[in-house]
């Protein structure tokens, strides 16, 4: 099974590539020196000071709320949009994809300034304006994840559900959604990530007092990123990782049980 081993090595390499910078960041979170380029010995103090900074704590709240909400809204709109687009004729389909790509394509600063100029005409800048902006640039990612999934979907199962008395909504929820779930998940993740990462658009569309981690970090660049940021990122990373492991283990337990029951 040479192939299998090579495959594993390959996956490990890819994961290594993706996680190497993360390891660096985690290392930096334990760096006693305030400079990222100097190793000043091991410390945990950034993890402590992190919780003393009300600015960071409130920014993380805003960031997560914003990311969750915008990703969720984008998923809902994107999912319905994908279904609609999927049912369209070729020409309409292309037109829709055309417009879907625009937010991806505009340089962030162009989108940010254009949205800001537009928002000031009818809504106060604040959390909601950032939310709208984030949803706007998130939707394309959701659509681009769900559409390919729709293309390979097995429509017969959906028909069978309808036949058994399911309304289209119910069949949609019970049959199509599980089928599309990986796509929705991928879209949600991407949207969530984009939202967490965005600086420029957030900056131009946010109101006073609204801060996300990104806007904090960008504000700090000149003086050097505060080590608390590394600590925060690492903490976030570990929390998600632990959650992932827990979910995974409990899911595996359940699976084991049902596997046993199957035979």
């Amino acid at each position: 099974m040479m192939g299998k081993a090579l495959g594993k090595i390959y996956i490990v390499l890819v994961v290594l590539f993706m996680y190497a910078p993360i390891m660096v960041l985690i290392a930096l979170s334990f760096n006693a020196s305030k400079s990222r380029v100097i190793w000043g010995g091991f410390t945990l103090k950034w993890y402590r000071t992190l919780f003393e900074s009300s600015a960071i704590i409130s920014a993380i709240g805003t960031t997560l709320l914003l990311a969750l909400l915008s990703a969720a809204i984008a998923c809902i709109i994107g999912l319905t949009a994908s279904l609609g687009i999927y049912a369209m004729k070729k020409r309409d389909y292309k037109i829709m994809l055309f417009f879907t790509n625009i937010p991806l394509l505009n340089a962030d600063i162009v989108t940010g300034i254009a949205l800001m100029l537009w928002f000031v005409k009818f809504m106060p800048l604040g959390f909601s304006s950032v939310l709208v902006a984030h949803v706007t640039f998130n939707i394309p990612y959701v659509i681009l994840c769900i559409l390919p999934k729709l293309e390979t979907m097995d429509i017969r199962q959906f028909e069978a559900a309808r036949d058994l008395g399911a309304t289209s909504f119910y069949a949609f929820v019970k049959i199509l959604i599980p089928d599309l779930m990986p796509g929705i998940f991928a879209g949600f993740f991407m949207a969530f990530t984009m939202s967490m990462d965005d600086f420029v658009i957030t900056y131009f569309t946010k109101g006073p007092g609204v801060n996300t981690l990104s806007t904090l970090i960008y504000g700090e660049i000149r003086k050097g990123i505060k080590p608390e940021m590394y600590a925060l990122s690492s903490l976030l990373f570990f929390i998600v990782l632990i959650m992932l492991i827990i979910v995974n283990i409990s899911a595996r337990d359940n699976k084991d049980k049902s596997d046993l029951a199957a035979y």
């Binding site: 028909e159 069978a160 309808r162 036949d163 058994l164 008395g165 019970k174």
Partner: protein, 363 residues
Amino acid sequence: MSKKLIELKNISKSFGSNLVLDELDLYIRENEFVTLLGPSGCGKTTILRIIGGFETPDIGSVYFDGVDITKLSPNERQLNTVFQKYALFTHMTVAENIAFGLRLKKKSDSYIKDKIKYALDLVNLPGYEDRYPDSLSGGQQQRIAIARAIVNEPKVLLLDEPLGALDLKLRQEMQYELIRLKNELGITFIYVTHDQEEALTMSDTIVVMNQGYIQQIGTPESIYNEPTNAFVADFIGESNIIDGIMVRDRLVNIGGLDFECVDEGFGKNEPVDVVIRPEDVELGSPEGGHTTGTVTSIIFKGVHYEIQVESAIGINFMVQTTQNFPVGSFVGINVIPDNFQIMHKPQSEDEEILNIEDIPLKE
């Protein structure tokens, strides 16, 4: 007679430029077992899909109990379907598949549990509750599809080749169970099969189709014994279809030899199609035969042998008999008058199809 439960009126349907159903009329009575029979691609599945609500006819309407349901969506129709390709929910276990419709109807858990057990017993797969469809063999999947549909006790059950992947024994068992369901629960069956014996055994009414047109509607026996045209005769069971000339009432000339028959009302010397079922051709000693022939091939078919006989009158007969006549043996050939089916010849090659609308539908 019971009332008409489902009526298709003037249904046409095409896919692109491909006309699949053409002005089709059909009704199904309550608690009737109707089978659609016809060659591959003739539109059987399409009819089921139109009744089920998965396809909208281009023209025409579907009535259920007198109400136009053409525009109704599938879940609003009181019928369930067993799909030709099963369409099981791959992300659900067998039990969840079967429970799907019941949960929608908000049945109690204990009711659902009972029903799952009952249905799995019925289809001979007890203990398969927690398997996933992917891990089942073809025939097992098909049976789950049946179980999933019948637990809902629909008014009408549409079945698209539901036993196609099952072996004879199981098929017979399932046939028996389906008939029992029909009688016990008063379900109306609309059935598609390519197995003529199954059609003949189970149906109250058989609808023979070809290329989107209905060729004949009738009871199994009338379809088998009195096919309205050569297509039906040829399609239902094996047949010898021979050119003949009607000498006069009750006398037909085949290959220069006159045979007695029971048909009347043909024009004098009218060219006709003569249909003789292979099991109706009797082979015996050369002396006793109306004509004679030589056996050119014999195939063992289990219940009987299938024998090809090259007859003295130049016609090749296919014969089914339980006796074994070795290749080369010289035999006598007899057909009793009752067993000749005489049919008008179609005017043109295509007439069978083109003029089919004129065939009176059985009331």
